[in-house]
Symmetry: C2
C-alpha cells in the first residue's frame, strides 16, 4: 500500500476553466476542439498564452481514433505556445484525471508556475465497431479484448453480480440514467439534453444483459481544460481560486477476472482513501461529486467505493433520491458521462470543470446551494486506474 | 519563451537501471518486455516492489502496434505493484524522455520518494507498412501523414537541405552509421552488433533520397527502466547515485513546413539551453552524449543544436572523429538508435541507462574514461518535442 504523501511542497489551485460543447462535431477535428477548450480556459483565467509554462494533455487514443499520436504537442502547436513543453498522459478513460495530476505535480515541484491541463477525444470520425475496438485498448488485450470482450459486456458482468449479491434492481440502474439526463437539461454543454423515464431505459435496446442502450454512456467528441497555478499565486489572477485539496490515484489489475471482488473497484477505494486523508475530510464532508458513470452500474459502484453508501446499498441511495440535486450528496450535476457525454480523454477534466463551476457558484439552475467541497472521480478501463480529486473554495 | 525554472523543490537521483536486449522478440509481448526491464531496475537499485510509490511508463503507440492502450497500468499490474498509481506518458519517440521528466517532477514535488520510470515498445508484431502508419501518428496527420509523408521522407528533406546549404556530404552521413555500429559491437543489449563500412551504407538500398537503408534506425522491440529518488535519499540505497542536474523539454510545430529553418530543431535548441542553464554547464563540459539518431542526418543536426558543433559544421565533427569514443565528445556510445535499435517508447529511457552506466564506470569496453557529466537527447516526431537531461556522478 503506497499512497501519496499528505502534503506537496507547494499547494495548487485552479484559476481558469474551459469546455466545448460535447456531442458529434462533424466539422471540428481533434485540434479544433482542444484549441477551443484551451483558449476558453486561458480567457477565463485572465492570463495570456505567454504565461503558460507547461501543457499537459489527456488523450486516450488519438492513434486509433484519428491516426494522430503526439496530441499534447499538437495542442501546444495550434495554441501558438511553442516552445512551451507538452506532455500527453494516458490511462484510458482516466487520461484527463492523469493530466490534472501531472499538472499538479509540475506546480507542486516548484518548477512551473502556470500549467494548462487539458483533455480531448475525437471519437465520431470512425465507424461504430472501430470505436469499440479502440476503447477495448483500455482492457487487457491478451486476456479480454482478444477473446471478444467489449466494455458493455465487462460492466454487464459487474451489474449481474451486483444484482445477484445485493439485490440491486434493474429499475435502480435505470434511475441513475434518468437523474443524469435530468441534470443535463440545465447544462448547455451536454450532449443529450432531453428527459427520459425509467420506462424509456427499460424499453431501450438490450446491449449486454442487463445493460440497455440508455444504461451506456455515448461516443462523444469534446475537450476541456483547466489552468493550474500555486495557491499563493492564484489570488493574483482571481478572487475565486479553487484549491486542489487532494490529488490521488491508484491501480488495479486490467483484467476483471483477476480482481478480488468484481463489484468493488479497489483502485477507487484506495484513491478515495488517500484523497480523504490528504484533504482531511470524510465522505460526509463532500457537498457534491462527479463520478465515472460510463454505465449506470458504474455510478452505483462509485457510491459505495467512494463511501457515500455502504457496500451493496448503492441502489438504495439512488432510489431514495439522495444523489439528486437537493439530496444528501448530489452526484453528476453536469449530466455525467451518460448525458453530458464521454469523450474519453476529456472526461476527467470536464468533471473538474463542473466541480469548479459549482464551487464558484456559477452552475446556474443546476447549482448545489452552498457547495464548498467537491470530489471528481475518473476511472480507466473497468477500474485498472482511478483518480480522485477533492477541490474546495476555501484554502 | 517559457523555460523551466532553475531549481526544483527537491533534487533527484537515479539509483537503479534495467534494460532488455533490443531486437525482434517474437516470443515476448509488450508486458513481458516491460516487466523484464522493470524487474532488472528494481534489482539494480536494491529495492523491493513495495518501495515503489509511482510508475511512469513511456509508450508511443501500444494502441496502433498491438491494440493495447493503458500501458502503464498494465505494467503496474504485471509487476505486481497494484494499487501503486501508474501514468503513461507519450510524445511519440520522446515518450521515454517524458517518462523520466514526469518521474522527476513527482519526486521533486515531495509527494513521492521512489518512482520507476520505464519505456517500452513492441513494434515487430505488425507487417512493415503498418509500423510506418503507426509511426506517422507522430507527425501532423492532417498536413503530413494524410498526404503520404513518412518519416524517412521528412528526414530526407532535412538532409537534402543540410547538404545544399552547408555542403554536408553523403559520406559524412554514412560515417554516423559506421560509428554507431562500431559502438554497438561492445553493447550486449544492442540489436545490430556487426561492423559496417561507409561503402556498405552508400550501397544499401535507397529509401528516400539521399537516405539509404543503413541511414535509418530500425523497427525494434525493447524496454528500459530507471529508479528515481531524491538526492538525499539516494545514498541510502547506493554508493553511486547518478544525479539529474537538468531535466528540460521544449516544443515546436508538428509539421516540418511550418518551421523557421528545417535543418534546425528549435525544440532541441531550446531544451538544451534550459538544460545547460539548470545544470550550470556549457556544451564543453559534457563528457559524452546519447542523441536521437533516428536517421544519420538527425545526429548531425543534434551536434549543432546541442552546441557540440557550430551550425553547418556537424558533418565536419563526425568526419574528424570527434564523436568517436576517445574523441572530444563521444556520442552514442551505446550504438545509438541506429545500431542499438529504436523501440520508440523505450529509447529515451535507454539513453539515460547508457549515460548512467558510463557515469558509474560500468560501460566495459565502450567506457568513456573519466566521464563525469553526460547528456541524453530524445526527440519526438521530426522535432515537435525534444527532451534534454544532464546527469552527473557528482552532486
Amino acid at each position: 500500500m503506497n499512497l501519496e504523501k499528505l502534503k506537496p511542497k507547494r499547494e495548487v489551485a485552479i484559476i481558469g476553466i474551459g469546455i466545448t460543447k460535447f456531442g458529434e462535431h462533424w466539422k471540428l477535428g481533434l485540434r479544433d476542439l482542444a484549441v477551443e477548450a484551451g483558449m476558453k480556459a486561458v480567457d477565463d483565467a485572465g492570463i495570456s498564452g505567454k504565461d503558460i509554462q507547461l501543457v499537459v494533455g489527456g488523450n486516450m487514443s488519438g492513434g486509433l481514433f484519428v491516426g494522430q499520436e503526439h496530441g499534447a504537442g499538437l495542442l501546444a502547436d495550434y495554441l501558438g505556445l511553442t516552445p512551451t513543453p507538452a506532455i500527453r498522459t494516458e490511462a484510458a478513460c482516466s487520461s484527463g484525471g492523469l493530466a490534472v495530476r501531472v499538472g499538479y505535480l509540475a506546480v507542486a515541484s516548484g518548477l512551473y508556475d502556470i500549467v494548462v491541463a487539458g483533455g480531448v477525444e475525437k471519437m465520431t470520425d470512425v465507424y461504430g465497431p472501430q470505436a469499440t475496438t479502440a476503447l477495448a485498448g483500455a482492457m487487457d488485450y491478451e486476456t479480454e479484448a482478444y477473446f471478444g470482450a467489449t466494455f458493455p459486456c465487462i460492466y454487464a458482468l459487474i451489474a449481474q453480480r451486483h444484482m445477484y449479491q445485493y439485490g440491486t434492481t434493474r429499475e435502480q440502474l435505470a434511475m441513475v440514467s434518468v437523474k443524469n439526463h435530468k441534470n443535463a437539461l440545465e447544462n448547455p454543454f451536454a450532449q443529450y439534453r432531453r428527459p427520459i423515464t425509467v420506462d424509456d431505459v427499460l424499453n431501450s435496446p438490450l446491449v449486454a444483459d442487463p445493460l440497455r442502450l440508455l444504461d451506456c454512456s455515448p461516443i462523444t467528441d469534446g475537450a476541456a481544460a483547466v489552468i493550474l497555478t500555486s495557491a499563493d499565486i492564484a489570488k493574483k489572477y482571481t478572487d475565486t481560486p479553487i484549491y486542489i485539496k487532494a490529488s490521488a490515484q491508484a491501480s488495479d489489475t486490467l483484467s476483471l477476472f483477476a480482481r478480488r471482488d468484481i463489484t468493488t473497484l479497489d483502485a477507487t477505494v484506495m484513491a478515495a482513501k488517500s484523497a480523504y486523508k490528504q484533504a482531511r475530510v470524510s465522505p460526509n464532508d463532500i457537498d457534491l461529486a462527479e463520478v465515472h458513470d460510463c454505465f449506470t452500474i458504474a455510478e452505483i459502484c462509485a457510491y459505495e467505493d467512494l463511501g457515500f453508501a455502504k457496500k451493496g446499498e448503492g441502489g438504495k441511495l439512488i432510489q431514495e433520491g439522495q444523489t439528486e440535486i437537493g439530496g444528501k450528496i448530489p452526484v453528476n450535476t453536469s449530466g455525467g458521462l451518460k448525458a453530458k457525454g464521454h469523450p474519453v480523454g476529456a472526461t476527467g477534466i470536464a468533471q473538474i470543470v463542473e466541480i469548479v463551476k459549482q464551487l464558484r457558484g456559477e452552475a446556474g439552475k443546476r447549482q448545489v446551494s452552498g457547495a464548498e467541497v467537491g470530489l471528481a472521480h475518473n476511472v480507466g478501463g473497468s477500474g485498472a486506474t482511478a483518480t480522485v480529486h477533492i477541490l474546495s473554495n476555501k484554502r
